[in-house]
Symmetry: C2
């Protein structure tokens, strides 16, 4: 392992000035084909790798994006962050994550550090609806700022979210598509995610001129327990329900348990759709639940790509909603969804 080879070494080997070598290597400026080739050969010969730090300093960039978050290990933040990391890595851009928790002093200090590092862009991650302290962040930066898995009340901001309305619409259309006409909705109350999914469901029902079963959604919280309780209510009402769109997978699993225990066949009597697809990520291909995958990874990726392309003015401000995906499972498709290698359907 000799010393690190530098541009001067290449220039010397090719018997040119290092400015000429610099030009040749990046294909700019007038350089005769002959000397260019000589320089390129010398670089290859010496296995020259230009010092990125030096280039950054000379170019005034850092190839680093700052990520500010209030709670990185949150389950919803991790896929977004992974999407950010992956997309930026493909562009040779590093990620500097500051987890500010709720401490405003830490946040201020983080912003200073990001400034010092001359970051090329700033991502604010998973803060829910944006509060003022975070909001003011963008003020001090003359670089692109985006919000991922967070929204803002300022229309000049740019943010990226999963498409909750689409999730609800897809769930509704799928249930209608398999012939269900008495579709109930169990969800959480007073939550923007819940509202969007409900809106989407209602769009689908309206388009098919099918009313919502029970007249209105059952609103509780996001837990499996609430799903069980709401399903129990539905059973007790002896309402005519042949499908339930559950606001998330936990609710769906809770409802599933109660329905099965009551001897209700799923999906034959009642079909079930959830949202989140955590089971799908973990479940080694179980495919129990039909669910809507919110593609959080893509939310992170889109936000990251925006940041790197923002200077080119290719993006509109405001909200960007990432498409979600329908994941089929037994709760709407029955055991037909099972894989050929494991056809017994033992669960």
């Amino acid at each position: 392992m000799g010393k690190t080879v530098t541009l001067s070494d290449v220039a010397a080997a090719a018997r040119v000035d290092l400015s000429t070598a610099s030009r040749a290597l990046r294909g700019e400026g007038r350089v005769s084909p002959a000397t260019r080739q000589r320089i390129i050969d010398a670089a290859a010969e010496l296995d020259f790798r230009p010092n990125a730090q030096a280039q950054f300093l000379a170019n005034g960039v850092s190839k680093t994006v700052g990520v500010l978050t209030l709670n990185a290990p949150a389950i919803f933040a991790m896929p977004v962050l992974t999407g950010v990391n992956t997309a930026l890595g493909q562009l040779d851009i590093a990620t500097l994550l500051y987890d500010a928790r709720t401490d405003s002093a830490v946040l201020q200090e983080s912003v200073r550090k990001l400034h010092a590092r001359r970051i090329d862009g700033l991502l604010v991650l998973g803060a829910g609806v944006l509060r003022s302290p975070l909001h003011s962040i963008s003020a001090g930066f003359d670089i692109p700022v985006a919000y991922a898995y967070a929204t803002s009340d300022d229309p000049k901001d740019v943010w990226f979210m999963p498409d909750g309305v689409m999730a609800g619409r897809m769930a509704g259309e799928h249930l209608l598509g398999i012939g269900r006409r008495h579709i109930a909705h169990i969800t959480s109350k007073s939550d923007i995610g819940a509202r969007d999914r409900e809106t989407g469901l209602m769009q689908a029902l309206k388009a098919a001129k099918v009313p919502l079963a029970l007249g209105k959604p059952l609103r509780g919280n996001w837990t499996r327990r609430w799903g069980a309780e709401a399903a129990t209510q539905i059973l007790e009402q002896k309402a005519s329900v042949d499908a339930i769109f559950c606001g998330n997978d936990q609710i769906a699993l809770g409802a599933y348990g109660v329905l099965r225990a009551a001897g209700v066949r799923v999906p034959d009597d009642v079909a079930l759709v959830g949202v989140d697809n955590w089971e799908g990520l973990v479940g080694n291909g179980d495919n129990l639940l039909t669910t809507i995958e919110p593609n959080l990874f893509n939310v992170g990726r889109s936000a990251a790509l925006y940041l790197t392309a923002a200077t080119e003015g290719r993006y509109e401000p405001g909200a960007h909603y990432e498409a979600c995906t329908l994941v089929l499972g037994e709760t709407t498709m029955g055991s037909g969804i099972r894989t050929a290698t494991d056809p017994e359907g033992l669960i």
Copy 2:
């Protein structure tokens, strides 16, 4: 927004040479208290933030760690990566992620880029047992290398893993602790994770002089379906079993469904313990399953901290196992585990 303020500006404002300013600001070298204070005041006044890129170049560091992985979005990789990001961010170190998938050419190119960037350390993430192509990576680097959620067959390597043996031991001790003496084990076959958990369970049983129920583990795969099938087998054998340690949560959930459907009370008749705690992360406090949390976030953090401290020689080579945590749930504690705010226990 005027121009960016530089060290020269500070020096000029304090009427000293910039070399003096540099020394004063970082507290090194002989500088009289008076002029030092003058310089510090000037810096504060001008809101000086030293250009990190320039410092890196001068110091020959990058404050960037490279992360090489074969599949970043994998469910087990995300928490590890998040742990890495968070720990490094606290040290003002950026992360550059290259997701090489299985392409060896991409991998080689990634290594070149990491070299060019003069990364301060390299983390290989979640590759399972290390194969030769990845293994050779460390050869070209004269910086610390660590493996996170991956193992190596070279004892000179350093790697960080969740403690699978401890997971099995904790599960066993917990079941013994609540009075169970007929503990069965459902797990996956031919998997290093499965083997470690089994080893730990057997340690706990041996210490208590309690034999494994059924004589040996039921080995299948990691799916909920296998959990259901194995539980069915146990029921059919009419074996005397009052607890099952399941190799992961999916198996536990599959077994849970079958037991409940067969009228077996959980945990009164049969207690259940899983491993992974995904439900806990997602479940909004449902606490259905008693499970072992592998603390993957900590695995990532430890690997990251090793990388930054490696030069100080504070770490041993070889394996480092991160402690896991017992998460109590209804499947061993009954409804007593329920939160006070939601005591009905409807599921």
